[in-house]
Assembly symmetry: C2
Homo-oligomer: 322 residues x 2
């Protein structure tokens, strides 16, 4: 029997990332409302993550490039080592383009238990690309012996906040190849409020790579799109990726689920069911900047596939706690 997941699963965690490790634990990290530190929690069940005591593993610097707005950490286990990718900046102010000024950073933990101590985490510095512009939301995956890095970044020649890029990695904090753009905001549902493509997440199923991402402003217009590539194609060739013209997941006003997005993927406890992890708001009458309203919550949703092997995400799940 399938587990019943209690939603919202985790209160006030945006940009949620869940990784099921070989030790049987689900590891969870996400943006915290104060944007001031990176934490990890773990549990043997997804529902258990709601109660799992986090451990702070990294704190923002007092000043400098890693001192403000710590966003969207992801925890990856690469060749026997733990890595966290995250975005950080030196100011909450916007630049002359009206944009935040984040760059991507990588930290590494060589201890077997990533939650043992903050002292085990070492900074590996900025993950540099070919442009020195606003960068965020990096993820990574491996295929056929090659490690890929996928992220969102501003190109001053392209309208909007950020586009999606891919490159091969030389090591977990260094790119090997020149970034290529896979998607930019262009459809009407990608340019509501802001022109945005961000938050990529990669799913490998049915001989295809699916890359979901989030588009538009992070209010009720926030919606998820998807790129698809055959897994025997050249993943560094933009022509290998087909962009879905419509959103694959979006707000459901009937259940007050607003702006679902910045998803990741995991599997059920028995490993048999794919599960999407995302955040969503449940009210839109926010006072002041939505960035500082903490009520983006983490939800989990099992999903299935259509006859062509494409994921069908359906609608945001309503709350079901008692």
């Amino acid at each position: 029997m399938a587990e019943t997941y209690i939603n919202p699963l985790i209160i006030q965690r945006a940009d949620p990332y869940i990784y099921k490790h070989t030790d049987g634990y689900y590891y969870f990290t996400a943006s915290v409302p104060a944007y001031n530190l990176i934490e990890i929690r773990r549990a043997k069940t997804l529902n258990g993550l709601a109660h799992a005591a986090p451990r702070t593993v990294w704190r923002k610097h007092e000043s400098g490039a890693m001192s403000k707005l710590i966003w969207a950490p992801e925890l990856h286990f690469i060749d026997g080592h733990w890595f966290i990718y995250f975005a950080a900046t030196d100011t909450e102010e916007l630049d002359e383009l009206g944009m935040f000024t984040h760059r991507m950073y990588c930290i590494e933990c060589d201890a077997e238990d990533p939650m043992a101590s903050e002292d085990n985490w070492v900074e590996r510095g900025q993950v540099k690309t070919d442009k020195d512009t606003f960068s965020l939301d990096a993820t990574t995956f491996e295929h056929n012996g090659k490690r890929y890095y996928v992220w969102a970044q501003k190109d001053k020649a392209i309208k909007g906040n950020s586009n999606l890029y891919i490159a091969e990695m030389a090591n977990p904090w260094t790119l090997k190849t020149k970034p290529v753009m896979l998607s930019k905001p262009e459809f009407d549902w990608e340019i509501k409020g802001f022109w945005v493509n961000e938050g990529p997440a990669v799913l490998h199923r049915n001989h295809k790579f699916f890359m979901t991402y989030s588009a538009s402003a992070t209010d009720e217009n926030y919606a998820m799109g998807m790129l698809t590539a055959a897994d025997d194609s050249d993943l560094l060739d933009p022509a290998s990726w087909q962009k879905s013209p419509k959103p694959v997941f979006q707000s459901d006003l009937s259940t007050n689920q607003l702006g679902p997005g910045h998803n990741s993927f995991t599997v059920s406890e028995d490993g048999q069911q794919d599960i999407m992890v995302y955040h969503c708001r449940n009210y839109s009458d926010i006072k002041g900047d939505p960035l500082y309203d903490p009520n983006r919550h983490t939800l989990v949703k099992p999903f299935s596939y259509d006859d062509n092997g494409y994921p069908v995400f359906g609608k945001p799940v309503p709350y079901n706690y008692l």
Copy 2:
């Protein structure tokens, strides 16, 4: 059959306060890690509070006396109106005594649903006492037609951070009588790290009033004490209150439950079982100021009474999530 409560119940909420209302909901509020706003959540079960989406009901001011370190809100329903008491200050800096500089404030919501909108909450100002000193952790209760206010406050003539006081109220934000001190830090377990009596909570059972409170520094030395008064005595007379010479609840190093305290009281879903609500840490190797480490978590623990009608709180409960 008794409910099984999952602990920690609520991650990263310190100074937890749960109120079971006549509408059948448990309402929860507490200090948030950023100390920047007051939120309320509600659920029909205690376990449901772990998943209940909060609503922000008040935000700190940009500057001035209510602009920093919003601490320990409590939600009370008084004569058909909702009130929240909380401590706030204008600076994170310590004063010439090495103390924080909080005062107590009251806000009121006249709407039936306290979570409907921030706009429904009105500031009633500072709850002034006879001294203009560090004040925090107020609670209130009614007995025999009189409303009482109980809180922690600094007296410059008494060693330590704060003592416990009681006064009768003229209305929910105004005292009617001169405050009288009920307890000050004096026993060895009340003066570890800092000399502290704070976080009072009131329980009326077995023809007695029990006032629990928290003592010493908020690390693993934090522990709970108790005052007891007969419910037909003059509650404004310090002589009516007997102080327990030993802590009634303290750290359990064997289960890594460190510094339990700042409790409140509620009852089980069927109303038959008294339950203590408190926060506790699970690690002590904190980097920097513990105030800015978010990992004080809310736990709930059913408790019983001894043959004399006194509560027996036992030991902090170990974590039991999967």
